[in-house]
Each structure stands twice: as C-alpha cells, then as structure tokens.
C-alpha cells in the first residue's frame, strides 16, 4: 500500500508530533515498507480467534487492592518535575482569550 506524505502528516498531527518535510518523506517510506511486511498476517485465517489483549494467567486475574485512602505525592513533589509551574499549578500556554 502506498503511503503519501499527506497521510504521514495526518498521523503525525494525531500524535502531536511536528515533522520536518525530510522526516515526513522518510517515515512515509518506512511505514510503507513495514506495512508491506506485516501484510503477511492476512495469510492467516483468524476467524473465531479471540484477540489476545493481555496476558492473564490463573491466579493472576488482575487483582484489585483495597479501595482505601493512602499516602500519595504531595503537590510539591508532583510539581517538581514540571518544566513550568506556578501558584500550585502546571502552567501551559494561554488557551482562552480574554
């Protein structure tokens, strides 16, 4: 299947990733090559096969812990990793005009 630069630009926009024109061309070529390779999956008839989304075993049925309050990060710890913060918040560029 042919992958056009426009398709790559659309995907990159969905992924919030800015790509240079050069990279767009590169990834169009790579994507085309990889998708051609994975096409071989269509040789297999998977009618009635349950998709395997997760590895779960007997005795490993995603146990839930008690829903009890406990210690977590305080605000200062959580904010310490942020590139830009202020007044107890993560700061982002302005999204609402006055």
């Amino acid at each position: 299947m042919k992958i056009t630069p426009d398709e790559v630009r659309h995907i990159a926009a969905l992924a919030n990733l800015r790509l240079s024109d050069e990279d767009t061309a590169l990834y169009a070529r790579d994507l085309e090559q990889i998708l051609a390779y994975v096409d071989q999956l269509n040789e297999l008839d998977t009618t009635g096969v349950e998709p395997m989304a997760q590895v779960l075993h007997e005795g490993n049925a995603a146990p839930l812990r008690a829903d009890a309050p406990g210690a977590s990060f305080d605000q200062e710890t959580a904010l310490r990793c942020a590139p830009l913060q202020g007044a107890g918040h993560f700061k982002v560029p302005r999204v609402i005009e006055r």
Binding site: N16, L17, R18, L35, M52, H57, N60
Partner: protein, 484 residues
C-alpha cells in the same frame, strides 16, 4: 581485595562475613572502575554515588553489629535507566527526560535495596527501550565488552555490558521483545525475562504495557536466581503483577535435570541462522542431552508471523504510552505561545528517529479505519503464537533455541534499515508475545571471540525449571564463574 569483576553475589557475602573487604570498599571500587572506563564503554548514564555509599555503610554497620545480612548485602548493582530510582535521574536515554528526577522508587528497586544491594548507577539503553543495539540512546552508544567495535545488543545494552565488563555482578534490565535476552547473549552473561507479571512493573517507564518486564542480569545462573527471587512477587501498585507464590529459586536450584523433555522447534534452526551460532546452540543441546534430558523435535507453526504481530502491538501500545510526554507535567518543553505548537514542538525535540517511527506506526494502526485490519489482527495472531506454546508445553518441560541469529554486530552496521533490525528479534519475540519465561545463558564463543547465548524458554511461572537447566548447563561448561 579481589576485583569486583571476579565476584559473584555469593562470594561477596562470604567475603563480607570473613572480613576480607567491607561493603564500602567494594562500592568505592565498583564506582571507581566504572567511572574510569565510562568514556570508553558508554555503559552508564549516571552514577548514584551518595546513594551507593549510604547503602554500603548500612551494610557495614549491620555487619559490625552482628545483625543478619540481607540476601544481596553489599552487592553492587546497576539499574537500567528506564527504572525509577527516587531522587536520581531516570532519563530513558531520551532528551524528553534528560533532566527528569524520579519522584519515587520502582518496586523492584525497593526490593533490591531492602535486600542490601548497593545501586551504583543507571545504565545506558536504547531510547525508551526501543531498539536492539543500544545505538538509539540519545546520548552515546555502549560498546560491547568483548569487542569495543561492536554493539552490546539492546535495548538493555548498558545493563548487560555492566555485568559483562566486570563493573557489577548484577544488574536490572527490561525486556519487551528480547531486550534482556539478546544483550545477555551478545555480552556473554546470563539474562532472564520472567513470566509476564512475575515481577512488578511499578516504576518501569511504560513502553508496551502488555509486553514489558523487569528482569535480572548476572554472571552466573545462581546469582540470577537470587536476584529474580528478590524482585518477584505481587504488588498492590501493579494489578498485572501475579499473586502466585514465589518459589525459593536459589534454594530450589539443582543441576539434576535428568528426564526433562526439551522441545527443539524446527522453525528456529532454519534460514537466517548463522551456522557458527547454530553449531554452538546445537552443542549446548547435546550437553543437556548428555545430562539426561530428552530432546523432542517440535513445531511452533506461527513463528514466522510473530514479528509482524509484535511490531504492530508494541508500537500501538507505545504510541499510547508515550502520549504522556507533552511538556506539561514533566519532560522537555519547547517555549511556544500556542498550546498545540508547544505540544508538537516539545515532542519533536524530545524523541529520536526510532521513537518517532514507532509512534507514527502505532498511531497509524490505531487510527480510524485501520484498527481491525492491523491492531486487532495482530492480537489474533498473538493468540495463535501463544497457542503454539501452550500446545508445546503439554509435551515438553522447556524449549531450547538460539537467542539471536548472529553474534554482536558492528556499530552502524544495521542502523540504515529499521525492518532488518526488527527481523533480528525473531527468536525472542515469540516468547514475549506468549508471556512465558525466557533466559539467555552463555554457550560459547565464535571463532572471532564473540559470545553466543542459548535460549531456554519455560511455561508461565516455570522459572525454576528454566533456571535449573541453565545452572546444569553452566556447570558442564567448566570455564565460567558458574562454578562458585
């Protein structure tokens, strides 16, 4: 005092108890050696000196006070830089997290430190654990300790080279499609991917959540068993961590493997396998047969579809997991006036080419109109690959294969063709998809002196069988540190 490169966890314990050296002396020696050579080897991304010396001092004080020592007391250990260590940097070898300081410890890190281990540093790897050669590190590559012109394998190349290069007896890595087993094979050390869920993933930076594992590296199978036993177990912080009881892997270790049935899958010994590697693996199988194991030729018919299934699933999961690096709560941020520009440019500046490639592929296969054709199809094929193994394990106790079709390759040799790099993961990816346990144990060297590993695969939660086979095999070789 003996060089840290000659010691196992077992003889560190006896050395400490005999007063031959202190934990502090050992930590200082390990740090000095690793630091002095790091410009050449590229193994470490950071050193955790203060943390290491504090941990070592605690061990020395316990020793002086006659208190019992933890199972890993005083053992220097290296941790892959995708695993959280509170108060230390965890970069994932990415510009996205270049300055990120972990706000908490991974459960596995808590476990090793509670057992007395001394974390000396964080190891280099492929960016976000995506790669098979360590060349995708955003900072610098790692050199193979057996030949510095060659790669150590990946993605846990630094953790494998830290043990192979004699800086530490133990290290932690992560394995998604072979990222522990393949570098273990390339660097001539033991490496284990435990059963999915056997070790908590809490604090492992997520790449592909249904495939990610934390696991151990060591020079001997005995040390590997010790470290695996320390980190395995359920965890309230990870609902996929298995609640099945953890056996005493070290106590249960035996070299008596008589009567075990070994599956030899014909699909793993065909086209693409370098003859020298094939011969070493075959010689390894012959030694196991000499110990009383029974070889059985088996078929895992869906093997050839595994790579396609894996690269669709892992990239889909990665594109979703890596959406969190938006420059807001953590990670690199581009200074832009508009929010959308800030997101897009932050991420463009953050990620290297392979990570971008995987985000694009993953986003594509999850996007509207393609989900069923790619992602769902890949999950169905994953079920078929897993079914191959379930059927095989009805008849055999373990499966023996090569780890990689070839030994360590030269830096730069395979970087131009991403698909060729993916194809080299064929023997490790199948076990990852099935969620079973796998291990690489050294089985010799090529004529050029490059290490080769033998892969032992065992059914879910049958790590003990796998470790026993590795231990028995190691003892037959008589040339390694497995003797002690």
């Amino acid at each position: 005092m003996p060089s840290v490169g000659d010691l196992t966890a077992g003889n560190i314990r006896s050395g400490l108890l005999a007063g031959d050296f202190s934990a502090t002396e050992l930590a200082r020696e390990a740090l000095a050696k690793a630091r002095a050579e790091n410009d050449r080897t590229g193994v470490f991304l950071s050193f955790t000196e203060e943390r290491a010396l504090n941990a070592a001092l605690r061990v020395d004080r316990s020793l002086a006070a006659g208190e019992p020592l933890g199972p890993l007391a005083g053992v220097p250990i290296a941790v892959k830089d995708v695993i959280m260590t509170k108060g230390e940097r965890t970069t994932c070898a990415s510009r996205a997290l270049q300055d990120f300081v972990s706000p908490y410890d991974a459960t596995a890190v808590q476990a090793i430190e509670r057992s007395g281990a001394v974390v000396i540093g964080k190891t280099n790897c492929d960016e976000f654990a995506m790669g098979s050669s360590n060349e995708n590190s955003a900072f610098f590559p790692v050199r193979n300790p057996a030949d510095p012109t060659r790669v150590p394998g990946g993605s846990s190349g630094g953790s494998a080279a830290a043990v192979g290069g004699g800086y530490v007896p133990l290290s932690l890595g992560s394995d998604t499609g072979g990222s522990i087993r393949q570098p273990a094979s390339f660097c001539g050390v033991v490496g284990v991917m435990p059963t999915y869920g056997r070790v908590s993933r809490y604090g492992l930076v997520a790449f592909a959540s249904s495939l990610d594992h934390i696991g151990p590296f060591a020079r001997t199978v005995r040390d590997t068993a010790l470290l695996l036993g320390t980190i395995a177990g359920s965890d309230p912080m990870d609902s996929t961590a298995a609640t099945a009881p953890v056996p005493d892997y070290s106590g249960g270790l035996t070299a008596d493997v008589r009567g075990l049935r070994l599956g030899i899958p014909r699909e793993y010994f065909g086209e693409g396998l370098e003859p020298e590697v094939g011969n070493l693996v075959q010689a390894g199988i012959d030694s196991l047969v000499g110990l009383g194991c029974e070889p059985v030729t088996i078929s895992l018919p869906h093997t050839r579809y595994a790579i396609a299934s894996y690269y669709l699933i892992c990239t889909a999961e990665a594109s979703s997991n890596l959406a969190r690096y938006d420059g807001v709560r953590y990670s690199r941020r581009a200074d832009r006036a508009a929010l959308r520009d800030m997101y897009r440019d932050s991420r463009a500046e953050s990620f290297g080419p392979e990570v971008k490639r995987r985000i694009i592929l993953g986003t594509y296969v999850l996007s509207s109109g393609y989900y069923d054709a790619y992602y769902k199809k890949a999950q169905e094929v994953r079920a078929l690959v897993a079914g191959d193994f379930s059927r095989a394990f009805e008849d055999v106790d373990a499966i023996i294969t090569p780890v990689s079709p070839f030994p360590a390759f030269r830096l730069g040799e395979k970087t131009s063709d991403p698909l060729q790099m993916y194809l080299s993961d064929i023997y490790t990816i199948t076990g990852s998809l099935a969620g079973i346990a796998g291990m690489s144990v050294p089985c010799g060297q090529t004529a050029a002196g490059l290490p080769v590993g033998l892969q032992i695969l065992a059914n879910h939660f049958h790590e003990q069988t796998m470790l026993n086979l590795g231990h028995a095999f190691e003892l037959t070789r008589g040339d390694g540190p497995g003797q002690t």
